[in-house]
């Protein structure tokens, strides 16, 4: 409880110094970006409210990192406007945009101590030494980096380095935090811990955060709002559960959720009025005796909490996710039945058919 009190005190200090200053809202208007002949971003419109945690997610090459770099000012957009807090920042240099960025490779200055890494931005902005020291103190306490302040990055573990990188962002007290796949270089256990830490920071700082990842689990667990990008366009924007429960396109349906949604050619199922039928693996029941579709078991994965069954049916492969432990023989026959009302229908353009 004592530690908790101290953290609260720190947050109080952080907030009181921030005053009632509005944290950053962000507006993106028709951003396009081309590298030579290649159009990477093909007209992006997006609005992010104060204090929101927004995650850009999509397969590699979808333009999510480019979009983040355009917001940061590290790349110039070919056309379109970026507004931070209502102010157009198209030609403002990165340091003056009120942003801080955390990079995938940490990007710590190798020849500077942790303290100097965190303080460089403030020193460069001409802040007094007392204030720099105070801010570093608060940030390092938040991230429990107090014991490492005099070390060089090379003397830290991967998780510690990423915490320093986050600390460097915090001391800038930015209006907008930008994260570029910050967890990709960490091992699985550390990734979960750091994810929780980032979620906690967001609650504490109440800051606007934009986060890029290709990992849909990170997106689902952290985001207030997920932006799914595909080939330089926004496919859908929504809360994690909106995306899970009502995907607007085949792409979103296939991208969100693990294992992937089963996407079946409608004609093979004998259904008309749709091109593709989608059913999530967890919305299918199986039985050894009777059911809607007959299939043979190709492979069974036992995950303890879940059992994943891969079936070969008349219309192609089908993945089924059952909760708990189940034993089925490979090559055995199983009947699968989709849950009523939990199938999705998509038209020729990949758009969902309502109703």
């Amino acid at each position: 409880m004592k530690a908790c009190g101290r953290v609260n005190q720190l947050i109080y200090e952080f907030e009181s110094r921030n005053g009632n200053k509005t944290l950053g809202s962000l507006k993106i208007e028709n951003i396009r970006k081309s590298f030579g002949q290649v159009d990477v971003l093909k007209g992006i419109d997006l609005e992010v409210k104060d204090g929101e945690f927004v995650i850009f997610v999509g397969p590699s090459g979808c333009g999510k990192s480019t979009l983040l770099r355009v917001i940061a000012g590290l790349e110039d957009a070919t056309s379109g406007d970026i507004l931070i807090d209502g102010k157009k920042v198209n030609s403002t240099p990165p340091a003056k945009r009120g942003i801080a960025m955390v990079f995938q490779t940490y990007a710590l200055y190798p020849h500077l101590s942790v303290r100097d890494n965190m303080g460089l931005g403030l020193k460069q902005a001409g802040k007094p030494a007392d204030e720099i020291k105070e801010r570093i103190g608060i940030a390092s306490n938040m991230l429990s980096l107090g014991d490492y302040l005099e070390r060089r990055p090379a003397e830290l573990s991967g998780g510690q380095r990423q915490r320093v990188a986050i600390g460097r962002a915090i001391v800038r007290e930015p209006q907008l935090f930008l994260f570029d796949e910050p967890l990709s270089n960490l091992d699985a256990a550390l990734r979960v811990n750091t994810r929780i830490e980032i979620a906690r920071l967001h609650r504490q700082l109440k800051a606007t955060m934009i986060y890029v990842t290709h990992d849909q689990v990170e997106a689902m667990t952290l985001a207030d709002k997920i932006v799914v990008l595909n080939q330089g366009r926004i496919e859908q924007v929504g809360s994690p559960m909106e995306l899970y429960n009502s995907p607007q396109t085949v792409f979103v349906a296939g991208f969100i959720g693990s294992p992937q949604m089963n996407l079946i050619d409608a004609t093979k199922l004998g259904q008309s009025g749709a091109k593709t039928i989608g059913i999530r693996p967890e919305h299918i029941q199986v039985s050894k005796t009777s059911g809607e579709w007959k299939g043979s078991v190709i492979h069974v994965e036992h995950l303890g909490a879940d059992t994943i069954i891969y079936l070969q049916t008349d219309f192609g492969p089908l993945t089924v996710r059952l909760f708990g432990e189940h034993n089925y023989d490979v090559d055995g026959v199983l009947y699968a039945t989709p849950d009523a009302g939990r199938t999705y229908r998509f038209d020729d353009q990949g758009q969902v058919i309502k109703g």
Binding site: L74, A95, I99, M101, Q104, Y106, A107, G121, Q124, R172
Partner: protein, 279 residues
């Protein structure tokens, strides 16, 4: 590091080849050094023999150091080499940074153009350079030599450093930009410290030909006040009589600074040469 598959015979042969090469490369140096410590008659009588108490003599060194000009010649060599290296590294690194960091039209073409000098020896342009220096009134100044050597060293420097600059993480430079560092600060404070091994490599490769050069000092700055060590030691080589003691002593002395600098840079140098290969 020993690979279990390498047979001892194979490794032995590799070592033998390297040892033979080392001996061949070091033999002239060795010969110069031992003979510089012998008196004149024994240099001719027994050029391959080591100095013995009866043949040992410092007459060569006495002659060289007794001629007061030699300190000046050394000083000239130091100034010319040092300043040239400084400019080669500074301009080379800056050009390399621009080529590797910024996308602009004609980037590749510019890179090739700057690297062209590696293939075309600067001595082909001697006549034009001399005419230029005469017109600019720079003949018999150290500035003339510094200008020529800077031009001579730049192509290789740009070429090597561009490769190395590309290995510096983009994220790091972007982090600097977000922290408000100017492009110059990013270059001097983030990138340069990271390419230090490459800088040392370039420094050594640039230094040796400059220090040893006879051609340009002879043509551009042969006056007594601007002679370099290599040119200075030629005063002992006459048309009819050559003072071999003095020549060899001068050359031995001239080896020392190169050796010292090499020892200072060698750790960085080896890292620079291998870091590209074993990544």
């Amino acid at each position: 590091m020993a690979k279990p598959t390498a047979s001892p015979v194979r490794t032995g042969l590799v070592h033998l080849a390297l040892i033979i090469y080392t001996l061949i490369a070091l033999f002239p140096v060795f010969l110069t050094v031992i003979n510089s410590f012998k008196d004149r008659s024994s240099i001719f009588r027994d050029p391959l023999g080591l100095p013995t108490p009866s043949t040992f003599s410092l007459i060569g060194y006495q002659t060289v150091l007794g001629q007061g000009d030699f300190v000046l010649y050394f000083q000239n060599s130091f100034i010319v080499t040092g300043v040239s290296i400084f400019f080669v590294l500074l301009f080379g690194a800056m050009a390399a940074f621009a080529l590797s960091e910024y996308r602009f039209r004609g980037n590749t073409l510019m890179g090739l153009y700057l690297a062209l000098g590696i293939m075309i020896p600067i001595r082909l342009g001697t006549v034009a350079i001399l005419q230029g220096m005469v017109a600019a009134g720079l003949v018999n100044t150290l500035t003339a030599l510094i200008l020529v050597y800077t031009a001579q060293g730049l192509p290789l420097a740009v070429f090597i450093l561009t490769e190395f600059m590309q290995t510096v993480s983009d994220d790091l430079k972007n982090a600097g930009r977000i922290d408000g560092l100017s492009e110059y600060s990013i270059f001097f404070r983030l990138v340069l410290p990271l390419v230090r091994p490459a800088m040392a490599t370039v420094a050594v490769f640039t230094m040796i030909p400059i220090w040893n050069d006879l051609w340009f000092p002879l043509i551009l700055a042969p006056s007594d006040a601007t002679k370099t060590v290599t040119l200075g030691s030629q005063v002992f080589i006459g048309q009819f009589v050559t003072n071999w003691n003095a020549v060899l002593a001068a050359l031995t002395l001239a080896i020392v600074p190169v050796l010292v600098l090499y020892l200072i840079f060698s750790r960085q140098l080896i890292r620079g040469i291998t870091s590209g290969a074993v990544k």
